[in-house]
């Protein structure tokens, strides 16, 4: 059945994983808030806001709202950041989940728009994931709200929410794979060579790859197979486990060889929560979990 699987635990795992990764990101960038998001940071607000549309939220709005109260631009930036951290903590715990998701989504949007020139793939997925945390019933299990009986009615029913998230992730991988396949570098292995040799990504001494093009070609082709194949093979039970493991391995490789730990963690959360739970929690375990959860 399209909506026949238990849906609430994967959504809860999704919520906790997303909050965890974004909290780790917050900790990682906290020493450099002024440089990344400050009014006189590496890209000043007056310049960064040129590329924003008039309605797009930004820290500057908060600064202008708080200025009459004597709050500086730096104070406004800190307030938005602390709101983001606090809401992510609440989201991870599943406390006032929908409110926490709304605050996390708003503050993350303001931070991303303000520091837009520094936003990369993780920012894009954070934005999408927090939106889904807002509209999907991600706090109905494994949460403080569930324990205290304070879950609000679902905006999007859980079975629909799960299929929506799964379909979105499948589209992401299909699009990503097709984009890569359009050029020669992923077919001939040059993409792998170029990625691991860029100074910003180089984690290990891999110049020997120049003498082993079969290795880079194999890795490049494997990447295309995993990404393009995701949309087809993540759904059937017979191939789901294999594709979950392959996808996790792909992102572990990205983390280990390119140093993109947080991005990889987010991508692993997406597949592991939305597809991995169903793939590896066997029927007996699902019944036990369902019985425990009530």
């Amino acid at each position: 059945m399209l909506f026949g699987e238990p849906s609430l635990v994967p959504l809860a795992l999704f919520r906790m994983g997303v909050a965890g990764v974004l909290l780790a990101q917050a900790v990682a960038v906290s020493p450099d808030l002024s440089a990344l998001f400050g009014s006189h940071g590496v890209v000043q607000w007056s310049i960064g806001e040129i590329v924003l549309r008039g309605w797009q939220p930004r820290i500057g709005w908060v600064a202008r709202a708080l200025a009459p109260f004597g709050v500086s631009d730096a104070g406004a930036m800190l307030a938005v950041f602390l709101a983001n951290v606090t809401s992510l903590l609440a989201l991870g715990l599943g406390y006032r989940t929908r409110t926490a998701a709304l605050l996390a989504w708003c503050s993350d949007t303001a931070l991303t728009n303000t520091g837009g020139f520094g936003a990369y793939g993780l920012s894009a997925f954070a934005h999408v994931a927090l939106f889904y945390c807002l509209v999907c019933p991600v706090g109905s299990r494994l949460s403080v709200d569930a324990r205290t009986g304070r879950c609000p009615p679902a905006l999007v029913p859980a079975p629909v929410a799960l299929r929506l998230l799964q379909a979105h992730v499948a589209i992401v991988y299909l699009a990503s794979g097709i984009e890569k396949a359009r050029g020669p570098q992923w077919w001939n292995g040059e993409a792998i060579w170029r990625a691991v040799m860029q100074p910003q990504f180089a984690q290990h001494q891999l110049t020997w790859l120049s003498g082993a093009p079969v290795v880079t070609r194999l890795v490049g082709l494997s990447t295309l197979v995993v990404e393009i194949g995701y949309a087809l093979f993540i759904w059937p039970r017979a191939t789901r486990r294999l594709w979950v493991m392959a996808t996790v391995a792909l992102h572990l490789g990205i983390a280990i060889f390119l140093g993109l730990w947080l991005f990889s963690a987010m991508m692993i959360v997406l597949t592991a929560s939305l597809f991995g739970y169903a793939a590896f929690a066997g029927p007996w375990r699902r019944r036990s979990v369902s019985a425990w959860l009530g």
Partner: protein
Amino acid sequence: MGSRRLRFAIGWALAHLIAVATAAAHLSLDSSKPPGNLVRAYGDLTGAANNYGFFAPAVASQIRARFLIAPAEGPSSVDTLEVRRPETDLRLNTMLSFFGVSEAQDLLARSWAATMFGKHPEAVTVTVVADTFMLPTMREYREGKRPQWVEFYRGVFARAARDRRPPVSSLP
């Protein structure tokens, strides 16, 4: 849950996925007028407007920026934006990648020069130098060719006269 609400949820989910798929395929309506601007706004708010061309179709060459700090007196020095913290440096390198867009170069260079003036109050001029990392192919590397940084932008920025601090020795 009522069937009407369920049907609405399914309808919205399908419409949302269509927005996701079309954006991922780089298909879009004219965003300068309705309904394209509304669709674009929805996409920006929800993340449905994203595309996912990571390292695609090719892996771009890294760009770096160096700043030559020239004080009124004494030798010049060189600084960079790096902070030696991985996540922040990743974001800074992402900012640097926009320097490859020619229309953005002077604007970003001005912004970075301002950062350097703030970091180096003694600076009278800051020269922004941008290089791109030219990596040979695997075959070229085997034949002895090696990576090198190649300069493609150089701009000199001077501190406004009203912002210049007097030399320390002249302070009471």
